[in-house]
């Protein structure tokens, strides 16, 4: 028994989209746009009801874009005589590119680790992406080991710049944004080819090629002072190859170059937290850091437990923070 739609039923857009996928997967040689618009349910009813050809074609173009956004690989096979002429173009979805390859299977132990890995994103768009990916993998029906208990790893992602930057990396397109450089008071406009996103010491960075500096640079997402504009200017996608490793070694290099000389009071919170990252110096300890402002924030929180000996810039930043804290909490200050 089946409940078939009657002609008067309005076809929901998701029905039309799924019908289109089913139709394009079922064909080897491809379907022309005309065939699709007159036979695939969702378009057919509108064709029959006398909808304009232009409107239907626009709808088809939109649907194609949306499905590609979902990762459905819609292929266009052009007219061999004239590849630019799309009137006779045929569309199809190659099964092998749509489906998870048949030789990919997951062991029970692998699935247990994936379940843990998929749960690390606390409330962010990445969290629903991870859940959706896991769902696809679980649908393979492989056995899963008992969940790994005892660990609750989390990655925080609160920066609104993350999503547009990720999209720009996927599409290999240049971005523009206002950036507040450490030590500057006003943000400057940056044109960047983004190549990789990187969480380092609990903070998100984007690594990319700075068009104005004409060199690779790493930017802290929390210092991006405007919305990220994804431009139409594309770049060579091969620039992305190995970008993650380059970004990571770049930050390690910065940390190796920038070492603060500090004196810490023994047995305090500052001593405990800093000594994990420190090496011994003749007078005090040396601690590597990446961003002078981020590090100054941390050092200010330790108050009298730490004294910055060098460098001067870090020392001044810490003093400035302590002065501002004092001013805000002194009578006559803000209330």
């Amino acid at each position: 028994m089946s409940r078939v739609a009657t002609e008067s039923t309005r076809i929901a857009p998701e029905e039309r989209l799924v019908n289109l996928v089913v139709a394009l997967l079922a064909t080897d040689q491809g379907l022309t746009k005309d065939t699709i618009l007159t036979s695939v349910s969702g378009y057919r009813e509108q064709s029959e009801a006398g909808a304009g050809k232009d409107a239907l074609e626009k709808m088809f173009e939109r649907d194609k874009e949306n499905l590609r956004g979902l990762g459905v690989p819609i292929e266009t096979i052009g007219d061999f005589a004239d590849p630019d002429d799309l009137r006779e173009a045929r569309y199809r979805v190659p099964t092998s590119e749509y489906e998870l390859p048949v030789d990919i299977d997951f062991t029970p132990a692998e699935l247990a680790v994936l379940n843990l890995a998929g749960g690390v994103w606390s409330e962010s768009s990445m969290s629903s992406q991870a859940r959706s990916g896991l769902r696809k993998i679980r649908a393979l029906g492989n056995e899963v080991d008992a969940p790994i208990i005892g660990y609750s790893p989390r990655i925080n992602l609160r920066e609104p710049a993350f999503a547009p930057l990720q999209r720009a990396i996927e599409q290999a397109r240049e971005v523009e944004f206002d950036y507040l450089k450490a030590g500057d008071d006003t943000p400057g406009r940056r044109r960047v080819r983004p190549l990789a996103l990187l969480e380092y010491e609990g903070r998100w960075h984007v690594y990319g090629f700075d068009r104005d500096q004409d060199a690779e640079r790493t930017f802290l997402l929390s210092r991006i002072a405007s919305s990220v504009q994804v431009t139409k200017r594309g770049f060579d996608p091969s620039l992305r190859d190995g970008a993650g490793d380059k970004a990571l070694s770049g930050l390690h290099a910065v940390a190796a170059r920038q070492q603060a000389l500090l004196e810490v009071a023994p047995g305090t919170e500052a001593a405990l937290r800093l000594s994990r990252r420190a090496s011994d110096a003749e007078q005090g300890i040396r601690v590597p850091y990446v961003d002078v402002h981020v590090f100054a924030d941390e050092l200010a929180s330790y108050g009298p437990e730490v004294r910055v000996v060098q460098p001067d810039e870090l020392r001044e930043q810490v003093i400035r923070r302590l002065e501002r804290t004092l001013a805000a909490h002194t009578d006559g200050g803000p209330r």
């Binding site: 089946s2 929901a12 857009p13 998701e14 029905e15 989209l17 349910s41 956004g69 979902l70 990762g71 459905v72 749509y98 489906e99 998870l100 390859p101 990919i104 062991t107 132990a109 680790v113 994936l114 843990l116 890995a117 690390v120 992406q129 991870a130 859940r131 959706s132 990916g133 896991l134 696809k136 993998i137 649908a139 393979l140 005892g150 609750s152 790893p153 989390r154 990655i155 925080n156 990396i169 996927e170 990789a196 969480e199 993650g244 990571l248 047995g267 994990r276 924030d297 330790y302 108050g303 020392r315 923070r321 302590l322 002065e323 501002r324 804290t325 001013a327 805000a328 909490h329 209330r335």
Partner: protein, 319 residues
């Protein structure tokens, strides 16, 4: 599970995933399927009903035949709330991961790989390769830089696996050094910081310990006895907490999310106010100094004075 409205494209994505899921399950209750797909049962029923009007194109303008459409066992659904797919016309195998789904899982795996006992095997490497091969597009590289896992972390993880208590020296900020014996229950890792949650034999209650403040870890042979107790969320406030009034510059509010999770931030414009609960009033001076001037402790008066004294003492070192 949520009742959030979904866009048509999102609903289409779910239907594409639903078919292979239902085939894999054979029979599955509405409740279980709804849970798996993060939708309400009503939404799940709607998707399943929708599925039965989806199928292959009609031939030459004719209506689709019944076996050209997906179909389900309607009696089973109507009488028992159980979904069972009886006819399929495609979509049987699960779709590839999108670039973004793969990126989200790949980054999560990098973090999982740093956990003692999870990443030691070659398993994570194999998974990274499978995910990359199973994606429909090249994922944007999202790297989670590995943090050093020291002896303390390894020892705590081992005690957790072995189900025995650990004892260690603990130095909380502004408090004397104590020796603790703890039944480990959970290790939280957030923004690169590791916390152990467990039953503290000294305090006779669940406590959270920042692992940077832990030293001299020694496993014991005492089997854990309190793992069944309620485990509060990492930053969940308790009855004994102090209450403080803060003024916070709007731009800084997201940075204080952990503190503000369960408090109401009020006001609009440049400066907001919030009442927060903190386990130890003395920790406020550190929060205030970290956000120099952007976070102002208005009360209690003792905490406000402590912030000023803290900054003053810090500045004295440079005078």
């Amino acid at each position: 599970m949520s009742d959030k409205p979904l866009l048509a494209t999102d609903r289409a994505a779910l239907i594409l995933q639903l078919v292979p899921y239902l085939i894999g399950k054979g029979e599955v209750s509405l409740a279980e399927a709804a849970d798996e797909f993060d939708v309400s049962e009503a939404q799940m029923r709607g998707m399943v009903e929708k599925l039965t009007v989806i199928g292959l194109p009609g031939d030459g303008g004719f209506w689709q035949m019944a076996n050209d459409l997906f179909d389900i066992d309607w009696d089973l659904l109507d009488e028992h709330g159980v979904i069972s797919i009886t006819n399929t016309v495609g979509l049987e195998r699960t779709p590839r991961l999108t670039a973004r789904e793969a990126a989200a899982l790949l980054a999560g795996l990098q973090l999982a790989a740093t956990l003692p006992g999870v990443g030691d095997s070659g398993l994570v490497q194999g998974l990274l390769a499978k995910l990359a091969r199973g994606a429909s597009g090249v994922p944007a590289e999202v790297i989670v830089a590995p943090e050093a896992v020291d002896d303390v972390r390894v020892a705590v993880a081992a005690a957790l696996r072995d189900g025995v208590a650990v004892s260690f020296t603990y130095k909380a900020p502004d408090a004397p050094v104590t020796t603790r014996t703890v039944d480990p229950v959970k290790v939280h890792i957030a923004s690169g910081q590791w916390y152990l949650q467990g039953w503290c034999h000294l305090r006779q209650a669940m406590r959270t310990f920042h692992l940077d403040r832990v030293s001299d870890v020694r496993p014991t042979d005492i089997p854990i006895a309190h793992s069944g107790e309620h485990v509060p969320d990492l930053f969940e406030p308790s009855e004994t907490d102090a209450v403080a009034d803060l003024r916070i510059r709007a731009a800084v509010v997201p940075l204080l999310a952990d503190y503000l999770d369960r408090s109401t931030v009020t006001g609009s414009g440049e400066v907001r106010t919030a009442q927060i609960r903190v386990a130890d009033e003395r920790s406020l001076k550190r929060v205030a100094a970290r956000h120099a001037g952007d976070v102002e402790v208005q009360g209690p008066e003792s905490a406000r004075r402590a912030v000023a004294a803290w900054a003053e003492a810090g500045l004295d070192q440079y005078r």
